[in-house]
């Protein structure tokens, strides 16, 4: 029986800007099981990164603030914790790797020192032990000369190497959950494949649960087990990875899949979803996807759809209304 390790309920995160309140994450719910890889998919600006930063409570305040919901990690609501308790979870039980390996490492410290630091703070390791473990971690992420590499500064490493170091850093304390925010977007295609393989290998070895944030459905197909699709700050569909690819329900998901190039079919032109993501300051009145939706009808323009259950999946679309509407928390 799988155990639920993270349960996000009705999360709301807003940014208070000069031009008004921006609801970047609006009533988002999802869960993560032990050892599972969950992908959060969507175009840029749909709230994926804000969702993941909210889980770690890393939303910069001001202007950002988590305005509602619960984030249960092993039964404890992270939003209720004191800053100090939260700090002992960050990097220790839940860690994160970021999109930009080039700028995500501190340029004035050696990478070895940066990995050691988490160990010293979270595991009370002595310097020597921490260094030994850091070198082990560097070896684990497949860097051939770990001792030497530990004394390098970030600028001496390539992008792919840096991302490996980021992974080593994130996994040093053996976290329960790894949040990977577009971990391969900034890398060359060949390096992308290596990093993905590394992540799946390490997941097998360490039994870490992964939340993978990406806009790349190809990556999702390779490593994720379950997918939630986000659009304009909301979850629009959630399903097993197989069914998403074989039978997408939400017109937005359908569009995303159609815009993927296919090797075995000759295509004249790639499909392209018309229009762009609406500004969070000015969401459409009804369904947020309705202005771009090919199948939109009258109701879509005026009334916001709930999340409907449909064959064990959930979808936010009036086309699937016959199912029962459910609260987001029961996903």
């Amino acid at each position: 029986m799988t155990k639920r390790i993270l349960n996000v309920e009705n999360l709301e995160t807003a940014f208070y800007t000069d031009e008004g309140i921006v609801r970047a994450v609006d009533n988002v719910s999802f869960h993560l099981d032990e050892g599972e890889t969950l992908a959060i998919v969507g175009e840029s600006g749909c709230g994926k990164t804000v969702t993941s930063l909210s889980v770690l409570r890393l939303i910069p305040f001001p202007p950002g603030k988590i305005t509602g919901g619960h984030i249960y990690y092993r039964g404890r609501d992270l939003l209720e914790l004191k800053e100090k308790e939260m700090r002992s979870i960050r990097g220790n039980e839940i860690s994160m790797i970021f999109q930009e390996p080039m700028t995500s490492l501190n340029p004035v410290f050696t990478v070895g020192r940066q990995i050691m630091e988490s160990l010293v703070f979270h595991q009370n390791m002595g310097k020597n032990d921490a260094r030994r473990r850091s070198i082990e971690m560097i070896k684990l992420v497949g860097i051939p000369t770990p001792e030497k590499c530990a004394d390098y500064y970030p600028h001496q490493l390539s992008g792919g190497m840096r991302q490996r170091i980021m992974i080593a850093m994130a996994l040093a304390c053996r976290p329960q959950i790894l949040i990977a925010d577009e971990p391969t977007t900034a890398l060359d295609v060949t390096v992308q494949a290596q990093i993905l393989r590394l992540m799946t290998d390490l997941k097998e070895k360490t039994d870490t649960s992964i939340i993978l944030i990406t806009h790349d459905l190809g990556i999702v197909a390779q490593i994720a087990e379950r997918v939630i699709v986000m659009y304009a700050g909301e979850v629009v569909e959630s399903a097993e990875v197989k069914s998403i690819f074989s039978d997408p329900l939400h017109p937005y998901t359908v569009g995303l899949l159609k815009s993927l190039p296919k090797i075995n079919e000759e295509q004249e032109k790639l499909y392209n979803i018309e229009g762009s993501v609406p500004s969070p300051k000015n969401y459409p009145k009804g369904c947020r996807f309705s202005p771009r939706c090919e199948r939109a009808f009258e109701k879509c323009m005026t009334k916001k759809p709930g999340l409907f259950a449909c064959n064990g999946r959930h979808v936010r679309c009036w086309l699937y209304e016959r199912g029962d509407e459910e609260g987001g928390g029961l996903l």
């Binding site: 770690l56 890393l58 001001p62 939260m86 700090r87 002992s88 979870i89 960050r90 990097g91 220790n92 860690s95 994160m96 970021f98 930009e100 700028t103 995500s104 490492l105 501190n106 340029p107 004035v108 410290f109 050696t110 630091e117 988490s118 703070f121 979270h122 500064y153 600028h155 980021m166 850093m169 994130a170």
Partner: protein
């Protein structure tokens, strides 16, 4: 690192040579005859000529320069036209006062300025931030000699907490160093503030936060080390500024430093004195600039030692 330092020191030689040439030439385009000036209006033509001959002022310029530079290299900067004392000795006596003031002022300004800058950056947009920004602005704008007079008036003459003039005891150093440093406090605070704000927005700071590093460590270790790179530039520049600025503070507090010696030399048109002090000050700036360059390499590993 050592090789890099040695190479930097060798690179100084041509710079120092150019500076000595410039200083020498500057002093020889001074309008008016210093000798006539020295001997007074009623001096006879013959007396002036004899004195010029004695001082070697009738030799061709290259010869004079050669004499100046070879003397300078042996530590001989000539004698004052008026007091006839050897300039090297006078400078050696006065230089330590000025250096102590400038070093003290720089330390004061750096410590206070960096602390203010960090506080402002961390509490950006709060009342603390805006009031400290105003304080820095006033500090930058107040002329050091005016501040010196006011501090002297308050702390020495009215409250009698501190001595007013001279540099006999450590207590004597407090007012001159504080007034000398104050103007740079504002500048260093501003630089630190904007550098910290910039660094705190960087991705690697978010990474540190995501790893659960305590906020204090992030600010004073991770962010500050990065923010120090622009701050070092300003501190280095200000140290030079304080060496020159101590002229003013020395005047207010009657301190016999090299700055006052230079000003007296200019006022009396004692050109060997001006030439000697400017040369020593110029050398000091060049050396300070080199130290700043070396400090960069210590703080920022991206600077290669080639």
């Amino acid at each position: 690192m050592l090789a890099y330092s040695i190479r930097r020191i060798f690179q100084l030689i041509p710079v120092l040579f150019v500076i000595s040439l410039l200083v020498f030439l500057m002093m020889h385009i001074i309008p008016g005859d210093p000798v006539k000036n020295m001997l007074g209006l009623e001096a006879s033509k013959e007396a002036i000529e004899a004195e010029r001959e004695r001082l070697g002022l009738n030799d061709p310029l290259p010869t004079q320069y050669f004499r100046f530079i070879s003397g300078a290299m042996k530590g001989d900067l000539g004698r004052s036209i008026f007091t006839k004392k050897t300039i090297t000795q006078e400078i050696l006596q006065r230089y330590p006062y000025t250096v102590k003031l400038a070093v003290g002022g720089t330390l004061f300004a750096t410590v206070v300025g960096v602390l203010i800058g960090i506080t402002c950056a961390v509490r950006r947009g709060t009342v603390t931030d805006s009031s400290l920004v105003v304080v820095s602005l006033v500090a930058v704008s107040t002329p050091s000699f005016f501040l010196a007079l006011m501090m002297m008036l308050i702390f020495a003459l009215n409250l009698h907490w501190l001595p007013s003039i001279g540099l006999r005891t450590p207590m004597h150093y407090i007012l001159p160093i504080a007034t000398l440093g104050m103007q740079s406090v504002g500048l260093i605070a501003r630089t630190t503030r904007s550098a910290m704000l910039d660094v705190l927005n960087q991705d690697y700071i978010r990474t540190s936060r995501s790893r659960g590093i305590p906020e204090k460590v992030i600010i004073y270790c991770h962010a500050l080390k990065n923010a120090m790179i622009p701050v070092i530039t300003v501190v280095g520049l200000r140290f030079g500024g304080l060496l020159a600025g101590s002229t003013l503070v020395e005047t207010v507090f009657s301190i016999p430093g090299i700055g006052r010696y230079l000003v007296d030399g200019v006022l009396k048109r004692d050109f060997p004195v001006v030439q000697g002090t400017v040369l020593v000050l110029a050398f000091s700036f060049v050396v300070v600039n080199m130290i700043v360059d070396l400090l960069y390499a210590v703080v920022d590993p991206r600077i290669k030692y080639e």
